[in-house]
Amino acid sequence: MLNPFDNFHFDWLRRRRAFIGISIAIMIAGLVSAVGRELTPGGTDSFNMGVDFKGGTIVTAKFRNRPTDDEIRAALNNSGVGDPVIQSSTNKPDEVLIKIPLLEAETSPEGVSDQDHTLQVQAGRAEVKSALDTFGTAAEGDATLDTAPDAAYKIIGTDSVGAIAGSQLRNQAVIATLLGLVGILVFIAFRYDWTYAAGAVIAVFHDVIMVLSFFSIFQWEVNLTVIAAILTIVGFSVNDSIVIFDRVRENVPMRRHDSLFEITNDSINQTLSRTVITAGLVILSVLALVVFGGEVLRSFSLALLVGLTLGCYSTIAIASPIAIWWQSKLGDSKIKDALAPSTTKGEKLASSSRRSVTRRPVTR
C-alpha cells in the first residue's frame, strides 16, 4: 500500500495569520494594479478585457504562406484599421488571430448611438478582409485552401461583439455566479452551520479575487473562457471546503474533550492525502493544457491553473480559520446551548441537530 501521508502531521491553523497575510498581500497587489492602471492616464486598463466584454472583432485567418506580424499590421493600418492585435496560435503556425478593438470613442455604452455599434459589428470582418486581400485572394464560402489553389488565405472564424452585448454578457455571468454562491451558502448553512457556509463562501471570493488579481497584474486577457474557468474554480473550491468540513463534522462528536481548533487541524491532516491526490491530478492536467493548449485556450488554462491551486490553499488557509474564528466570536452561552442535548448522558446524537455537533468551544 502506497501512502506517503501516513502519520503526517502539520499544524496548519497555527500559521493561519501568515496564510491570511500572504493572501491579503496578493489581493492588495491586485487592487493596486487594478486601481493604479485605471488612474494612470494613457496607461493600460485594470483588466485586459477581451473582445467578448469590451466589444470589437476577432478574425481568425488561415494563410497558405503566413506573412509576418508586421506585414499584417501594416496591411491593416493601410486600410484604416487602427491598433490591431496580431496573435499567432502557438500550435498552428499558419493561423493568426487578428483583434480589432472598438474605436476609443465607442467603448462606453453610454452616449454612443446604436448606429456606431452596428457599424462596428458589421464592418470588422469586411475591414480585415479588405486588408488581407493585399496578400492574395480569399477562399470564399465553402472553398478551402485545398480546394481553391489560387487562394492565399481563408477567414475561418469571426467574433464580433458590440459594446452593449459585451457588458450584457459580463453582467449576466457575474449575476449568475453570485446567485450560484447564494445557493451554495444556503445549502452549506442547512447541512452544516452558518459559520461554515461563511467560511466556504469567503474562501470562494478569496479565490476569485486572487485570480482576478493575477489577471490584472500580469494583464492576461479576460474573455468568455475565463468565466467558464471561474465557474469551475468556484465549484472546485467549495468541493474542497466541504470535504474538510465533513471530516470536522464527523470528528466532533467522537472527540468531546478536544478543542475545535485541534479537531479541525487533524481533519485537515486526515484528508490531506485525498487533497493532494485530487488536486495534483487536476492541476497536472491543467498544466498540460497551459503548455499544449494553444493561444485560444491560454486565458482559460491560466485561470484554471491559478484558481484550482488557490482553491486547495484557501480551504486550509481561509475557510477553516474563518469558520473557527466566527464560532469563537459567537460567545460561550450560545455554544453551550447548542451543545446541551449532546452532552447529556443519553447520547442523543442522532436527534440533535447538525448545528449542535459542529459547534464547540474554541480554546487554545
Binding site: 481568425t60 475561418i156 458590440g162 452593449i164 449576466q172 450560484g180 465549484g235 465533513d246 487536476v282 492536467s285
Partner: protein, 565 residues
C-alpha cells in the same frame, strides 16, 4: 455474501450501460452490419451528438429590433393619420389648430387641439373610425384630445413586434436556403433581442443584408394634373413645398423620384440617370406592402440588369386597389419603395390584383427585393449586437483539442489510479469510463447541444468523479489502518465517503442549476448542463458501480486477507 442482490445490481448496471452505448453509438434505425465497422460507429456517433455551432461551424447572430423606433414611428403615423382623418371631414368645427407628438424615453402620446371644443367626442369617434387606437388611453382637456400608450400596452406591442420580426426573419432565411436555423428570443421578450443560429453558414454577409433589408412598398396617388398632361414633378424639395403653400400638410408627402435611365431630353444617353426630381403624393397610401400576396423577379429579355418585380395583392388589398383605380382613371399613381418613387404611371383602367415595380434591377437584387417584399416589412430597423462565425475547420480543430484534452486527462488519471491504488484502481477506471459514456448518453437523451464550454463542464465532472473515487479509497485505507477487517472497512469507507460525496455533489448541482437558470442562452448554460449530468451520473458510477465491483471481489474471494488498494 448474498449473490442474488449482487446479480440484480450487476443486471441494473449492464442494462444502463447497454442503453448508454446505444444512445451514444447506436443508429436510430434497424442496425446493419455496416454499423459495427469503425467508420459506421463514427458516423452514428456524429449523428447522435448534437454539436453546438462553436464545434460544427456556423453563424451565431444576436440582433436587436429597435423597438423604441417602432413605437415612435407608430405614434407619429397615428398622429398624422388622426390629423388627416379630422381634416378630411367637412364639418366646420373639425378644425385642427395645433397638434403635438411625444415619442421618447418610454413616453408615447400625441394630441390634437381643435378650434372648437364643444363636440370632442364626435371628433374622437371620427378619428377612431379611421385609426386603430384601441390600446391607447384617451383623455380630453379643454379643446385638446390626447392619446397615450400605457406601459402595459407598450409591452404588448413590443412583444408582438418581436415575434413579427422573428416570423419575417424566419421566412427570409428559409427562402434563402439556410438549413435548420434556430431563431429565439434572447433575454426578456421586451428587450427586442433575437438570437439567430445558422449551422454551416460561415459568411453571413448576404443573410444579414437580406434580414436587415427594409422593403416598404406603398402605392400612392400623385398630386398632379391627370393624363394626358405629364406627371407633375418638381426639381427641388422647396419647389414641391411651394406648390403646397410653403408647408407640408399631414395628408401630403414629398418623395424623391429618380426617373430611371429613360432619356428625358435630347442628347441624353439612355444609360445616364436622370437627375432626381420630387413629386407630391397623398398620404396615407392607397395600398401598402402588408397587402401583398406574392412578389417575384421577372425579366423580359433575360439580360443582366433588366429585371423587374411583379406583385399580386391579397383579396382585401385587391378590393381596395380596384375600388381606387376605378375612381382614378387617368390619374397618376406612384410605386413607392422605401420612401422613394420607383415609377410613376397613370391609371389606364381599373386594376385589381397585380402590379409591377419597374427599374433596372440585377437578377440578385431583384430576387432579394422580391423576397423581402413577400415576407413583409420588419416592424423596425434591426441592429446587430453580436456576430460569431466559426468555420468548419476551426470547429473541427476545437473538437479535436477538446477531445484530446479530455482523453489526455482521463489517460493521466487512469495511469495514476492503477499505479497508486493497484487492484482497486480498476474499479475507479471502470467507474470513470462509464461516467464519461453515460454523461454523453444523457446529453443525447435530453437532446442537449455539446459546446466548447460543455466540454469544460465534462472535464470538471470527470475531475469530481476522480475525487469521489479518491475519497472512497482513502477512507477504506484509513479504516483498514484502524484495524477493521476488509468487508467492514469497505462498508465503512463507502458509508462515510458517501456523506461527503453527497454534500459536495448537491452543492455543485445547486449552484449549476442556478447558473443554468440565470445564465441566459449563452455559454454558461452549456457548461451547467454537462456538469449537472456528469455529477448525477457520478453518484451512480462512483458509488453504486464501484461498490458492486468490490462486493463481487468479496463474494468470489471470501477468505481474502489483503485488499489491493
Amino acid at each position: 455474501m448474498k449473490r442474488t442482490g449482487l446479480w440484480i445490481r450487476t443486471g441494473v448496471i449492464l442494462a444502463i450501460t447497454l442503453v448508454g452505448v446505444y444512445m451514444v453509438f447506436g443508429p436510430r434505425r434497424m442496425p446493419t452490419s455496416a454499423d459495427f465497422t469503425w467508420e459506421g460507429i463514427k458516423t452514428n456517433l456524429a449523428e447522435n451528438i448534437n454539436l453546438g455551432l462553436d464545434l460544427k461551424g456556423g453563424s451565431h447572430l444576436v440582433m436587436r429590433v429597435k423597438l423604441d423606433d417602432y413605437l415612435k414611428t407608430m405614434t407619429e403615423n397615428n398622429a398624422q393619420a388622426a390629423v388627416s382623418a379630422i381634416q378630411d371631414s367637412t364639418e366646420p368645427k373639425f378644425q385642427v389648430t395645433n397638434n403635438a407628438t411625444v415619442a421618447e424615453n418610454g413616453n408615447y402620446s400625441f394630441n390634437v387641439t381643435l378650434a372648437d371644443g364643444t363636440d370632442l367626442s364626435a371628433v374622437a369617434e371620427a378619428v377612431k373610425k379611421k385609426v386603430d387606437l384601441q390600446t391607447w388611453n384617451e383623455t380630453t382637456s379643454g379643446s385638446t384630445i390626447s392619446w397615450t400608450l400605457g406601459a402595459a400596452a407598450q409591452n404588448v406591442l413590443k412583444v408582438d413586434a418581436v415575434s413579427q420580426a422573428k416570423k419575417i426573419i424566419e421566412s427570409r432565411i428559409n427562402t434563402y436556403g439556410v438549413k435548420e436555423p434556430t431563431i429565439q428570443n434572447q433575454g426578456s421578450p421586451t428587450s427586442g433581442q433575437i438570437l439567430l443560429q445558422m449551422p454551416g453558414v460561415d459568411d453571413p454577409e448576404r443573410v444579414k443584408s437580406l434580414i436587415g433589408a427594409e422593403s416598404n412598398l406603398a402605392l400612392m396617388k400623385i398630386v398632379s394634373a391627370a393624363n394626358p398632361a405629364p406627371v407633375t414633378t418638381y426639381p427641388t424639395v422647396d419647389a414641391a413645398k411651394a406648390s403646397l403653400g410653403g408647408t407640408v400638410p399631414a395628408n401630403r408627402k414629398i418623395l424623391p423620384y429618380a426617373e430611371r435611365d429613360e432619356p428625358t431630353a435630347a442628347g441624353q444617353t439612355p444609360d445616364q440617370k436622370a437627375p432626381t426630381r420630387y413629386v407630391v403624393v397623398e398620404y396615407p397610401a392607397v395600398v401598402d406592402g402588408s397587402e401583398l400576396r406574392n412578389a417575384e423577379a421577372v425579366s423580359r429579355t433575360g439580360a443582366q440588369g433588366d429585371y423587374q418585380i411583379s406583385f399580386q395583392f391579397k383579396p382585401s388589398g385587391a378590393q381596395k386597389f380596384g375600388e381606387w383605380t376605378g375612381k382614378n382613371i387617368n390619374n397618376y399613381m406612384a410605386v413607392v419603395l422605401n420612401d422613394e418613387v420607383k415609377s410613376a404611371a397613370f391609371i389606364k383602367s381599373q386594376i385589381f390584383d397585380s402590379g409591377e415595380i419597374s427599374g433596372k434591377f440585377t437578377k440578385t437584387s431583384a430576387e432579394d427585393l422580391a423576397l423581402t417584399l413577400k415576407s413583409g416589412a420588419l416592424p423596425a430597423k434591426i441592429v446587430y449586437q453580436e456576430e460569431r462565425t466559426v468555420g468548419p475547420s476551426l470547429g473541427a480543430d476545437s473538437i479535436r483539442s477538446g477531445v484530446e484534452a479530455s482523453l489526455g486527462g482521463l489517460g493521466l488519471v487512469i495511469v495514476f489510479m492503477l499505479f497508486y491504488y493497484r487492484g482497486s484502481g480498476v474499479n475507479a477506471v471502470v467507474a470513470l469510463v462509464l461516467n464519461m459514456l453515460l454523461t454523453i448518453a444523457a446529453l443525447v437523451l435530453i437532446r442537449s447541444t455539446l459546446t466548447l464550454p460543455g466540454i469544460a463542464g465534462l472535464i470538471l465532472g470527470i475531475g469530481m468523479a476522480v475525487d469521489s473515487n479518491v475519497l472512497i479509497f482513502e477512507r477504506i485505507r484509513e479504516e483498514l489502518k484502524a484495524g477493521f477487517d476488509i468487508p467492514t472497512s469497505i462498508d465503512l469507507g463507502f458509508d462515510r465517503a458517501f456523506v461527503t460525496i453527497i454534500d459536495t455533489h448537491i452543492t455543485t448541482i445547486i449552484s449549476s442549476i442556478i447558473l443554468y437558470m440565470a445564465g441566459g442562452a449563452g455559454p454558461i448554460r452549456g457548461f451547467a448542463v454537462t456538469l449537472i449530468l456528469g455529477l448525477l451520473i457520478n453518484l451512480f458510477t462512483a458509488v453504486f458501480v464501484s461498490r458492486t465491483i468490490f462486493n463481487w471481489e468479496l463474494s468470489l474471494r471470501p477468505k481474502m486477507d489483503r485488499l489491493s488498494i
